[in-house]
Symmetry: C5
Subunit: 255 residues, 5 copies
Amino acid sequence: MIPDSLTQAQYDTVYNFFSLVIAAQLFASIFMLVSLTRVLPRYRQAMTVAAVVCGIAAYHYFRIFDSFKAAFVTDAVGGRGDYLQVAGAGFNEGYRYVDWLLTVPLLLLELIAVLALARRVQTSLLARLIPASALMIALGYPGEISGDNGIRGLFGLLSTIPFAYILYVLFVELTRSLDRQPASVRRTISQLRLLLLLTWGVYPIAYLLPMLGLDGADAWVGKQLGYSIADILAKALYGLIIYRIARMKSFADDD
Amino acid sequence: MIPDSLTQAQYDTVYNFFSLVIAAQLFASIFMLVSLTRVLPRYRQAMTVAAVVCGIAAYHYFRIFDSFKAAFVTDAVGGRGDYLQVAGAGFNEGYRYVDWLLTVPLLLLELIAVLALARRVQTSLLARLIPASALMIALGYPGEISGDNGIRGLFGLLSTIPFAYILYVLFVELTRSLDRQPASVRRTISQLRLLLLLTWGVYPIAYLLPMLGLDGADAWVGKQLGYSIADILAKALYGLIIYRIARMKSFADDD
Amino acid sequence: MIPDSLTQAQYDTVYNFFSLVIAAQLFASIFMLVSLTRVLPRYRQAMTVAAVVCGIAAYHYFRIFDSFKAAFVTDAVGGRGDYLQVAGAGFNEGYRYVDWLLTVPLLLLELIAVLALARRVQTSLLARLIPASALMIALGYPGEISGDNGIRGLFGLLSTIPFAYILYVLFVELTRSLDRQPASVRRTISQLRLLLLLTWGVYPIAYLLPMLGLDGADAWVGKQLGYSIADILAKALYGLIIYRIARMKSFADDD
Amino acid sequence: MIPDSLTQAQYDTVYNFFSLVIAAQLFASIFMLVSLTRVLPRYRQAMTVAAVVCGIAAYHYFRIFDSFKAAFVTDAVGGRGDYLQVAGAGFNEGYRYVDWLLTVPLLLLELIAVLALARRVQTSLLARLIPASALMIALGYPGEISGDNGIRGLFGLLSTIPFAYILYVLFVELTRSLDRQPASVRRTISQLRLLLLLTWGVYPIAYLLPMLGLDGADAWVGKQLGYSIADILAKALYGLIIYRIARMKSFADDD
Amino acid sequence: MIPDSLTQAQYDTVYNFFSLVIAAQLFASIFMLVSLTRVLPRYRQAMTVAAVVCGIAAYHYFRIFDSFKAAFVTDAVGGRGDYLQVAGAGFNEGYRYVDWLLTVPLLLLELIAVLALARRVQTSLLARLIPASALMIALGYPGEISGDNGIRGLFGLLSTIPFAYILYVLFVELTRSLDRQPASVRRTISQLRLLLLLTWGVYPIAYLLPMLGLDGADAWVGKQLGYSIADILAKALYGLIIYRIARMKSFADDD
Ligand SMILES: CC1=C(/C=C/C(C)=C/C=C/C(C)=C/C=O)C(C)(C)CCC1
Ligand SMILES: CC1=C(/C=C/C(C)=C/C=C/C(C)=C/C=O)C(C)(C)CCC1
Ligand SMILES: CC1=C(/C=C/C(C)=C/C=C/C(C)=C/C=O)C(C)(C)CCC1
Ligand SMILES: CC1=C(/C=C/C(C)=C/C=C/C(C)=C/C=O)C(C)(C)CCC1
Ligand SMILES: CC1=C(/C=C/C(C)=C/C=C/C(C)=C/C=O)C(C)(C)CCC1
Ligand code: NA
Ligand code: NA
Ligand code: NA
Ligand code: NA
Ligand code: NA
Ligand code: NA
Ligand code: NA
Ligand code: NA
Ligand code: NA
Ligand code: NA
């Protein structure tokens, strides 16, 4: 639940993190678009998707930043006082879920695209991963905006079911269909999956913070930082790693 | 008719959907522009039109979003209360109709362009489809902005006449002129037309909602969501499918 | 003269037309820039000029739109009432004349460029057309911003002299210098000139409206719509036709 | 010194000129960037610099325009009254000097680059021209913002010393180092230098206006128009002429 | 500590410097992106990073400029009076540190990339330089926002430790690993390192200013100008020098 008041330090911290995410996503996106021609055509689809994902995130963080600025105000000189929720506007947690609804399926697409599996296998994987991810996001939202920790917990749990299914598909099913791939490809895939697990795992942890006995404002600030950092790792860093892999494969394939 | 008041849940839902449409159209447009060189030159015209259509929609949804934000206000702390129509500004339904006036003819052009028919047939089809679509939009507008369900029904009906004519041309006349085309081309055309039918059909349904006994605000919210979803399907998704077809044809033609 | 008050219908109509022109010019410009490489290099100069003309118009209509929004206000709930001129700001008709001062010479340049005449003939034509067009715009402005119909008429008349001269140069002199051109080129030129005549002719007609006995607000609204439509035809449509000609010539020249 | 009040005609004139400069610089910059590939690689450096110069000017005129709008206000209906300086904000003449500090060295670089002299000569010329131009701008600023005509005159005089030195280097020294160049190159250089002299000369004349007995507001308006016109000539027109020369040389060199 | 009041001259000076930095970084970034294809592919990575660094800085200076404008206000006519800190908003020093957190690692990457060392050496250098630079920034921030000169001094000292380590790695370790490089490469590296030392050294000096007995406002203004100039030198100028080196190497490598 959105806290009634933030100290200046809490306000400034969230403020600066949101601005950091804008810069990181926007310029990661620009960097990837400018570097597109430096990888072989067969990897450009994945790079373009990665750039689009970061662009979508930059758009949403512009909105999140403005929403946050408008939602909390102070009347202290120099902004050196507590920030209270304003009348007439609220911080909109919805932007994140709209963002994820668009970007999570694209990230899965990006992962599958870079693996270069047979088209039949790709289609079958995506046909299960994408609906599951949409369900995961949709089930998380009612808990996120609820002020009741019971409801938060319930929907968090429901959202974890499709999340677990996604991990199952990526770690169990995908492995099976990779039997005939050379060892080096298998290693890359393992690393990418691991990265995905580590970064995606931050989201449910951030989601849990408001339920852990912490003071409301601290928990909420922690959650915002958690989501912000996870978004940088799962989108910008992930995209740059995809770029690195594509660059290396571009040299290898050229031989 | 625009409702006098929205609950917070209604306000937030419309708000988040409008923001979702902005992101979807804007980045679909950017994605298609960046991917332009990945299809053969002969398909780039259709792709460019698709990207322009999504760009026009993104522009209009920026305006629609701002119009909506300005039109409904609350004085509850954190925005947690009912939203009332403000003095001095109103939600402008006109943006949609201006948008459709520009984009519907372009979508028809896109469809005809991707079919690659003889130039004479193209010209003849467009000479009937484009005026009919302009008439359909123009006749819908007076009903849309009227607070009277009788007027709404009347103009909805009038607008349905050119709509039916468009479907007739696409499903009856076009079929005839395809006799000499190979089976695979006929299948693609059938699929595209079906998609068009399914997505375009959402518009008149959304238009009807305010006439169906529902509470005014619920009906209006439903209509906004209906138009928003239809616009994503008929522009962004449609464009991406055109891209997919163009990609596949690009490989086929290269052989 | 700018009316003191507009009905909601008048306000909304002008509002939606201005927004339509923004979208039309902006995306016509983007479309032409993206399509630049689809015509042979020798036609790109004309296309670039056409795209720049539409871009300049989009810029000015952004300003015109904002000026209009700020200049007329209502205090009716939902904006459903009369709109009065506000204190402290006025609608600036100057944007149009600044726009024309830049774009009319460019349109003439575009026309001459696409004809591909001998360089000496080009220079001689432009040396007369461009100063005449600047004079035409400059003489129209004092009449446009005057509240006195006598002054409006006088400057309208003065402005018509260079306008007539431009038409003379294009229809009499140009014809003479085309004697040695093949028939097909002569036909294209005739069509372009005709289009130019038809679209440019709308401007003086719109200018006349406030002098025709109509109620002040109606006449003013009519004038704004007239200029808006003329600007779409004379810039966006004209540019797209230039593009079409360039495309066709690009195929022909390649043979 | 900034006048306390402007008539509506004065306000509108400055307003429209500033908006004209924005459009002219912005689209000159875009035009040059789009046309970059139409000149041979060896001329692209100069063209890019020209486009950047116009872009920097567009940025600063956006700021100048906003500063002017905020600095002068009226409370007359429709803006039809005198405009007074507002409390809390002032017109910032500093933007121009910041602009010149960046663009004047770049214009000199552009000139030297297009001459294609020996690298040693280039370096030696720039090593004197660039510091002199920075000094010229820096010395002009204190006079520009002073309300005292004595101080204005003094700093104007001091600023004229480096200005005279720049002209000396361009007209005396440069000539000497051109002895061994073919006649045609010498002619081009002469023309470019002449253009530079004519356009740069407008700046000190505009600077002098407030000292010439004119009414304060008239002089100030005249100065703003003078700087605006000079900026269009010295940046946009100058850049387009550089483009024209580069185009012609590109054909010549190709033979 | 942020001063309670600034004179008009102080306010205008900071204001104009911030606007100068925006223009310098934005157009340096654009210039480098446009010139990307003028260097050989192997140098484009470094150029792209340089362009992104300047783009990130332009973004942050837009924010810094707006933050400064909002934080200090006057009620004097024409802005000719003292500027006081406003109620409800403060100047946010955090933008700089967020900027540095992103750009300092990228600048180190840029330096290492342009040296073209063996991949193993690169990785080992970056693995020490990047964490050290992050630590340097993070330790500087608490001192920067503190109003207490003791705390400022303490954190300044702590931050100097990783700074010294960075210099040690660049000047001692890097030198050792260059033994086998040809003399010309060693010279370029020496020059780049020297430039880096000179520009990076400005930051701690600016940081120290508030501790040197100067009046609070003067010291703060000096610090802002110091950081502004250092940012132009360390990002825009540094990037342009990298471009120059890449251009020269591009000619050399082509032989
Ligand atoms: C399991 C779980 C969640 C998972 C969220 C995830 C996994 C989000 C991933 C987002 C990404 C990868 C975005 C980047 O584009 C929620 C919704 C927080 C609710 C609590 C339970
Ligand atoms: C039949 C009918 C209508 C049809 C609208 C349609 C078919 C709109 C299509 C819009 C598209 C495809 C936009 C995307 O670019 C109206 C006007 C709602 C009025 C009621 C009757
Ligand atoms: C004769 C005449 C006029 C002509 C205006 C024209 C012909 C404008 C053309 C504008 C274009 C083509 C703009 C598009 O870029 C005025 C000034 C209204 C004043 C009344 C007399
Ligand atoms: C001699 C002189 C001046 C000269 C200014 C000049 C020559 C400015 C040129 C600006 C350009 C070329 C900008 C375009 O990018 C000042 C400073 C007005 C002060 C009075 C004396
Ligand atoms: C040693 C030291 C500092 C060093 C800062 C540096 C070296 C910043 C470099 C920034 C750059 C290069 C940015 C450009 O992208 C601080 C933090 C001021 C705190 C005081 C001690
Ligand atoms: Na705030
Ligand atoms: Na909310
Ligand atoms: Na609102
Ligand atoms: Na309305
Ligand atoms: Na209004
Ligand atoms: Na006016
Ligand atoms: Na004003
Ligand atoms: Na000032
Ligand atoms: Na201020
Ligand atoms: Na602060």
